[in-house]
């Protein structure tokens, strides 16, 4: 490990923020920091368990009972009909895959680019990836007419040599999502090992000790183990980035490959990826706000400066999204296809036009008005509200593309407006399940990657050169 000290670039003659805070330059002893994280995992209030119980009841009702009804009675319990063969379940799938994108984006891309301010919240974002993908997978299963035969979609060698059709975008989708789920779970697990070992050493007996003992894989923190771990994490960080980009591109191909007017568009790939990042970054802001305001000691780890970083990314992604949306709108308009034109007119002036205007307000106006100001970006609750609004906007975007969009097809005789039925409680169920998994995980695994924070703090030094105090950052690799 070579250590090269390099000063952080700072412009001349300008007043600016103290970089010490930005880089968490007020280190605590390692033992104390570990204790803080362990304490935050163990100290719970009755309100926590009350919320958990409510969420669990919601999950049992909507993913257990309602899904049972849906399976036993058929898809007719949902609002789907001709021509809206696809409804809210696929909106949920696209939405949750979008949420899952932020985790990889933050932890892999920001890790590769060595953005220092990522350190305390990589794990919170990675957990969103894994749990979001769980909801996306469940939503696909809810959508299937005969879900009990879902294994027919897997390429399992069988006696009758019947294979799934690899021409179908749904097959690509299945491959992409399972790959992404596997990769992101492993990528969540690797940086977790040192923290699990820490938790193992700080847990006295009980099943929890056994749990940590098994998952920590006997990690002791020797030089060789760290070397292997860093190598593995580097490989995964680089390898998962193309997987992440491909997943949402492939999800977009479910639509872009179809003959439907308004769907058949070549810009859908990058447009969906940016849309995913838009909702994902916003969701990270919400989750960080919730963690910071509910978990003990997290105000030390998650600071306004981190919200500032996320806020800037949200603004950037919002601008990119606006560009792609404009592009996706302009090109079909310019193409002048009669069906595309009808589709656009229906979105703007049809009975669901209010969704279209809400979407544009939430996705463009809200971030552009709120996130310009650094002071506002550093206000966690304001950022959380912006995050919620952006997510509402992104959900509506998918809603407009899928159920509102398919209303307009080439057979005007069949045009019909879609109204969700059993989809509503089941959608609430996926949200509740996501939160429930997250809350339970917050009791089991450290949501702050302590070792990463400590590594960051050790890499930063304040040197006195002449009269100036200069913050330096050592390169760890």
């Amino acid at each position: 490990m070579t250590t090269i000290a390099k000063p952080i670039a700072r412009p001349h003659g300008e007043e600016h923020e103290d970089p010490r805070q930005y880089l968490m330059h007020d280190p605590l002893p390692r033992g104390q920091m570990n204790a803080m994280v362990m304490e935050s995992m163990h100290e719970t209030s009755p309100i926590f368990w009350l919320i958990t119980a409510v969420l669990a009841a919601t999950v049992v009702f909507s993913l257990g009972y309602e899904w049972y009804i849906l399976i036993m009675q058929g898809q007719g319990m949902a609002g789907v009909t001709r021509p809206d063969y696809w409804g809210v379940f696929l909106v949920n799938t696209v939405f949750w895959i979008g949420i899952s994108h932020a985790g990889t984006f933050i932890s892999a891309i920001l890790r590769v680019l060595k953005v220092e301010s990522r350190r305390p919240f990589t794990r919170a974002a990675e957990l969103m990836t894994t749990f979001g993908l769980v909801q996306a997978g469940l939503s696909i299963f809810m959508h299937l007419g005969r879900v009990w035969l879902v294994y027919w979609m897997f390429p399992i060698p069988n006696q009758r040599t019947i294979w799934p059709d690899f021409h179908s975008p749904l097959m690509w989708d299945l491959m992409a999502i399972t790959t992404y789920l596997l990769c992101s779970t492993m990528y969540l697990f690797l940086p977790l090992i040192p923290d699990l070992a820490m938790a193992r050493d700080r847990t006295e007996g009980g099943w929890l000790k056994q749990f940590y003992k098994i998952l920590a894989l006997g990690f002791r923190g020797t030089e060789g183990e760290w070397k292997n771990l860093t190598t593995a994490m580097n490989i995964f960080a680089f390898a998962i980035i193309p997987v992440m980009f491909s997943v949402h591109t492939i999800v977009s191909w479910d639509f872009a490959m179809a003959t439907r007017p308004g769907w058949n568009s070549t810009v859908f790939g990058p447009y969906f990826v940016i849309g995913a990042l838009h909702s994902g970054m916003a969701a990270v802001a919400i989750v960080l706000f919730l963690l910071r305001s509910t978990m003990k000691h997290y105000k030390y780890f998650i600071r306004p400066e981190h919200f500032n970083t996320i806020g800037m990314l949200m603004l950037l992604v919002s601008m990119a999204w606006a560009y792609f949306y404009f592009n996706d709108y302009l090109v079909p308009w310019y193409g002048g296809d009669v069906w595309d034109k009808l589709f656009q007119e229906y979105a703007e002036k049809g009975p669901k036009a209010y969704l279209w205007y809400t979407m544009l307000t939430c996705n463009i106006a809200v971030p552009w008005l709120i996130l310009w100001n650094r002071k506002w970006r550093e206000t966690p609750w304001l950022l959380a509200i912006a995050g919620i609004l952006i997510n509402v906007g992104m959900y509506l975007e998918r809603y407009i593309i899928i159920p509102v969009g398919v209303t307009i097809n080439r057979m005007p005789f069949t045009w019909r407006q879609y109204e969700p039925r059993i989809e509503v409680p089941m959608t609430v169920g996926t949200f509740a399940f996501f939160l429930l998994l997250y809350m339970l995980a917050s009791r089991l695994i450290p949501l702050i990657p302590v070792w990463e924070v400590q590594e960051g703090q050790e890499a930063h030094l304040i040197r006195k050169i002449g009269k100036a105090e200069i913050s330096t950052l050592s390169d760890m690799e």
Binding site: T161, D165, S168, R416
Partner: protein
Amino acid sequence: MATELGMPAFTNQSQEEEPVGRWGMVIDQDLCTGCQACVAACSMENNVPIVGEDDASYGRYMHWIRIERLWENTEYPEVKMTQFQPMLCQQCHNAPCEPVCPVYASVHSMSEDLNLQVYNRCVGTRYCGNNCPYQVRSFNWLDYQDERIHPELVSLHNHANPDVTVRRRGVMEKCTFCIQRIHKAEDKAKSEGREVEDGEFTTACAQACPANAITFGRLDDPESGINKLAAANRSRAGHALEELRTLPRITYLAGGV
């Protein structure tokens, strides 16, 4: 390795020459009176479930053929209705519904050049229905054959055509050009050592049509009734949504020209 395991090889399926096809239909919109006899006959022949008022008005009617009625001008007093347009599966040669099915439930019959649906292979992704530009696939939203849904229709279950499967909930279904009648005629012709002749049999919709607006027959026989009909009315013959190049097997003779 892929072929050893029986995995289908990727092939370039685009074809320069338009294949002729085997079975076809000509629908004369000038003759159609919109009486819906074809809809009833098709439902009886193919065991199409009766979905009931509520679901039918919500768009879940499952008829394999429907009579479309549209208005060119809805402003009173110039209200003008278009010609009745019977819409059923166009049996496209380049069918958009086929490549999108992940489990090969929506397949092309190479021998008959028809789009067929393998009901017991379908898992209900509904991608084919979404991708069909003619919107002629119907999905079994509920177990409509279940007597608990329509107790008053139990007696109708004894009327089901034994040559056709009864479909369960969660599968897609569609017009087959009465494949059971095609097979019956082919079996008979084969046992007599000859080819199926044009006009030897017809589909349920064509059989029931009182105005003879629907004609079914062989496309690959230049002397067949449908080929003669299309040739005689060349000026008003056309395919539905021709610009998509799905190569439909149904020719519409435009009405009111």
